[in-house]
């Protein structure tokens, strides 16, 4: 049984290592913190593996562990948690579905501005954005966080609106 667990664990990490890495990169600016968080996620996957019965898909389960770990892991630097986005991020356009803003995105300065605004988001909003950037559907995000699909849609819409207003220089009461 133990050997079986070890094999399952190794397979899971081999298949989902990149996914975990990306989540770690969203939250941590430096590689040392990314490594710590990566290791913490692996520990939690190991500890939760015996209770994984396949009720959700493996990827949803991995995202749950990654997000839940990030919420507890960041205890040491909870308030300073940084959401890191990268210009190679394929799904970045999902945040900016406005033509005018897509043009802005092409400019490096605006990417920086976007990152600054993202880091003003609350920790939960950051978690939602990280899952959105991963390309998860609203339903999948709901499964990870434990919210209904309409609820996730409302929250994401609110975040997008707030970001849009900020990038357009409009004041936003949310921030």
């Amino acid at each position: 049984m133990k050997e079986n667990k070890e094999e399952r664990f190794k397979d899971l990490i081999a298949e989902n290592g990149d996914r975990i890495t990306r989540i770690c990169r969203y939250y941590n600016p430096n590689t040392e913190d990314q490594k710590d968080m990566y290791q913490e996620i692996l520990v939690n996957i190991w500890n939760s593996l015996d209770r994984f019965r396949g009720e959700s898909s493996v990827s949803t389960w991995i995202y749950r562990i990654a997000v839940n770990t990030s919420l507890s892991f960041t205890g040491k630097a909870f308030r300073h948690m940084k959401l890191q986005i990268h210009d190679d991020q394929k799904c970045l356009t999902v945040l900016l579905d406005d033509d005018e803003l897509e043009v802005k995105l092409k400019q490096e300065a605006d990417l920086e501005q976007l990152q600054t605004q993202l880091n003003l988001l609350s920790v939960i909003d950051k978690a939602l954005i990280s899952l959105l950037l991963e390309g998860l559907s609203m339903r999948e995000i709901g499964d990870v966080i434990g919210l209904t699909e309409p609820n996730v849609k409302v929250k994401i819409h609110r975040i997008k609106e707030a970001l849009k207003n900020q990038l357009n220089g409009k004041p936003n009461s949310k921030f």
Partner: protein, 186 residues
């Protein structure tokens, strides 16, 4: 096996698995050690009861010993369950569930803690009987009152220490989990 893919942080997976296995083994050892310790104390009391059992004396003393023994057994089961509840946190659940469980786990008053009253009561009565001098010269009522005061002070100190530990270590975790939960559900 090293996950030293260029995109992934370099973590020695075999070493990590080795450490995790060691930790699992250590946890199991701690659970078993606590259980064995409690059973040992329980058996010790049983032996004492058997040895001091004297038909010429009232039933109080052996009954007291048995009560203390029973209290230790209940404590052993309770501590084991509490330890497992803290140790086996399932991070694979949806975030709202994980947070709700954390709020519950770290609240200062737990309904399940009322179960501790049973072994405490048994221990109180048991030790009160056990420590009573049957030579017939001491006043049973005075002994009872004196013992209750001592017992109450010991329990009060224990509760105070527990509260301080909760306030410093667990309350911040509970507050944070509660804040996150409220934010998600808002």
């Amino acid at each position: 096996m090293e996950t030293n893919n260029t995109n992934q942080p370099s973590v020695n997976l075999d070493k990590l698995i080795g450490n995790l296995k060691k930790e699992d083994a250590l946890n199991l050892k701690i659970i078993l050690s606590v259980q064995w310790l409690m059973w040992l104390v329980a058996v010790l009391y049983l032996v004492m009861v058997i040895f001091i059992f004297d038909f010429s004396k009232p039933w109080y003393k052996p009954a007291g010993g048995l009560m203390v023994m029973l209290a230790f057994v209940i404590f052993a089961v309770y501590l084991r369950n509490r330890y497992l509840a803290f140790k086996l946190i399932d991070y694979g659940l949806p975030t709202t569930e994980v947070l709700a469980k954390a709020v519950k786990r770290y609240q200062v008053f737990q309904w399940s803690a009322l179960l501790v009253l049973i072994p405490l009561l048994l221990e109180d009565i048991g030790l009160c009987f056990f420590s009573y001098d049957f030579s017939g010269h001491s006043d049973p009522f005075a002994h009872f009152v004196k013992w209750q005061v001592i017992f109450f002070v010991i329990i009060a100190i224990g509760v105070l220490i527990g509260y301080i530990i909760w306030r410093i270590r667990q309350k911040p975790l509970r507050d944070r989990a509660l804040a996150l939960l409220k934010e998600i559900e808002s």
